[in-house]
Symmetry: C2
Subunit: 445 residues, 2 copies
């Protein structure tokens, strides 16, 4: 078949659910990574159901045309970027909550449902869906599955992977498969479902998913603690964990980031507990005492939602504040074993000095996960600093990405982490699932 006819074939099959106006095409070439797209897509598919997804994939595959699945496009590594000419599969129309069963503690949603909407629907009924990426207001469940999104509550509750029971997916040859089971546990054959989680849309496309959820905690308490320097803050964070505390969030903001949001007099931690009121009260009191013993300059504790939100406010503004200061900053996402956090932060400072770039970091230190930002003077200099940061994280037995994925921006570093043999096995898995290379090409590898 001729490449020129892919648009016509999609139009024939999908009617107005295939669009190719230039404004739309240009808009959907981009994502939150701000990496320049390599191409403007030929058109955009807006599927109504799994059959539309399958039909579009089949048509694209027959024409050798790339398909770029797109949820909220909130990824920071270019996972939904149009990296060569092809068709965008926009999941915005697939935004229905299909079945919410309090009895089964499961909810079935289409892939385009916003994560924040899922949170709200469950909170209204007294339930909690734990995965909580910072972009919850505009990212989608399908995107979260494709990236294995983490977020603020991963320390206690794990990541998106841990809440997935079953899913409908479309394969690279346009087959609709149901994977997993609606039961809470199943070990019937290979766990293909969890192989697909975090595969960034390169092995198959999530169309809908059945997720489990939990009863909502009855109480939440939040602490904010300011420190004289970063090492003291990081040691205090580790101190909390050593005491056997298990906060649902344990966040760190360094002095540079704190300065950028103009909210605190130095680096700070946010610590949040949830659970039974008595448990939360006891844990918060213990944490306050530990933080003070470990040289916190000031500790604030809040229980009421509005006061808790006030403590979070500075932490939430970090990312956008840094973007304003430096629109071309490199936003990295390294993660190391907990004990290596202070060493990672020291390495970051060293790298900044050596490469002449300003460095700062914040993030989910309870997981060992630092969102490192490198603020360039001449753009090219951050590349060297990023490479050194990746090597430092790996030398500390860590990973190049805790939750953002490989996408486009971390491709060159992936072999440093996996080694050639594991990378080769991953490539063979890719070829098995997508021999023609039509699913989100140019990502991961």
């Amino acid at each position: 078949m001729k490449k020129s006819s892919v648009g016509a074939a999609l139009r024939r099959r999908l009617g107005e659910r295939f669009v190719d106006g230039e404004v739309v095409r240009r808009a959907l070439a981009l994502d939150a990574s701000r990496i320049p797209p390599a191409a403007v897509p030929l058109g955009v598919v807006r599927p109504r159901d799994a059959r539309d997804v399958a039909a579009a994939v089949r048509i694209c595959a027959d024409h050798g045309t790339a398909i770029f699945p797109r949820g909220g496009a909130s990824g920071l590594t270019g996972g939904s970027l149009v990296s060569r000419p092809g068709v965008v599969m926009d999941f915005a129309p697939l935004n229905r909550i299909l079945r919410l069963s309090p009895e089964d503690r499961t909810v079935s949603v289409q892939a385009g449902v916003l994560t924040g909407r899922l949170h709200e629907a469950l909170e209204r009924l007294g339930f909690l869906y734990p995965p909580d990426p910072a972009s919850a207001a505009f990212c989608t469940v399908g995107g979260n599955l494709s990236e294995n999104a983490g977020g603020l509550r991963a320390l206690k509750y794990g990541t998106t992977r841990d809440y997935l029971l079953a899913a409908t997916v479309v394969t690279a040859d346009g087959e609709i498969l149901r994977l997993g089971s609606d039961a809470h546990k199943s070990v019937a054959g290979y766990d293909l479902l969890r192989l697909l989680v975090g595969s960034e849309g390169t092995l198959a496309i999530f169309v809908d998913a059945t997720l489990r959820f939990l009863p909502a905690p009855k109480a939440v308490a939040t602490l904010s603690a300011v420190f004289a320097d970063e090492q003291a803050a990081l040691e205090a964070a580790l101190g909390l964990l050593k005491e056997g505390l298990l906060p649902r969030a344990l966040e760190f903001v360094d002095g540079v980031c704190a300065g950028a949001v103009g909210a605190a007099s130095g680096p700070f931690l946010i610590v949040e507990f949830d659970g039974h009121p008595a448990e939360v009260r006891a844990a918060a009191a213990e944490a306050r005492s530990t933080l003070k013993k470990r040289d916190a300059v000031r500790v604030s504790l809040a229980r009421a939602p509005a006061r808790r939100e006030a403590l979070w406010e500075a932490r939430r503004r970090v990312s956008t504040a840094l973007l304003k200061i430096s629109p071309t900053k490199a936003a990295e996402d390294v993660c190391v074993p907990l004990s290596q956090l202070p060493a990672l932060y020291r390495a970051l400072r060293r790298i900044g000095r050596a490469c002449g770039v300003e460095t700062c970091a914040y993030g989910h230190v309870g997981d060992g996960n630092l969102h490192v930002n490198l603020l360039p003077r001449p753009r090219r200099r951050t590349d060297g600093a990023v490479a050194r940061l990746m090597k430092a994280a790996l030398e500390l037995r860590g990973t190049i990405t805790g939750e953002h994925g490989v996408g486009v921006s971390k491709k060159r570093y992936l072999p440093l982490e996996t080694g050639a043999a594991v990378l080769s096995l991953m490539r063979r898995v890719k070829r098995l699932f997508d021999p023609r290379g039509v699913l989100n090409p140019g990502k991961i590898f």
Copy 2:
């Protein structure tokens, strides 16, 4: 190469770490499934390290000889059974805890470490490794990973999969790979690690693993509640979950099983909470009141370890008591969405009557997981009842196996659950990882 020389080649490379005395060979052909092995193995490899495992796999692969990895051989579906002539890889010698880091909240163990020993090592330091299969005293971490073992605490804490961070594995061509990361989170490339979890030794062999663990709960409370009939007991179990309670264990024992252990006057539930003392106290009180409201005939509550253990005692003895009554019983492991449990139990009774076999069930109803036993009169009649049970579980949107795996005994039912297309994809994954079919052949497919 000639098949006859595989023993000689293994002996040359491994010396006394390859044994082929007849007593050993006959003993290691069997596992806890009590399925008759199809063959006596040619010999047994007792590896000292990953290089031994890799060398033995390479030699076997070169000779086209099957390898049967063996942990505690406690699986109930024949996962470690010798299903054709080949070599057993006995992980008993690889029994060291390599590195236990309270700071990182991670522990690295060789695959042959007993799960119970890992529990003890962590409990001594005030930590909890949640996966708790009933066979913890004699099963191994490597076996747990290969089967994705669940157990009593899966309701609150999940299964073995959820605690794995990284592993060393040996592939079918004898390559040693390190998968995953020592960091608590990583999304660097495909999650090959979790594809291997639950793959029953058919894709690669676990040699060692890095697992995460949690702070131990400060209090535990256990309730036992006896009911007049099974439907009341199951409805009460669901009632607890509907109230928003999250016990760590929620176990059901039906009247037949209760009679077999001679311990209770009817079907009963065991409910166990852990966490902060105040939380546990409140949850136990609420559960007691709910159980009474939902027609429990008698509710007992215990906090002290010895008294808690006394409540568990009857539940723990069910499996062996049933074996004594009926050594040829079929032990099944279906799992359904929570709301479908009462219907599953009714179906079980119907099937028993229709097929003329005695049926009974117990298990992890908090997960929707029932261990169903079919006590045959003429042996052949359980086969029909098992097939009907599998169909009933699938019609209720469930799975043929919640935690025991497919192994040998559930192979014929797997296609009913997955369908032909998913099964074909699983087979292609098998061929990709093990093109010569030497890793634990005859299992799953």
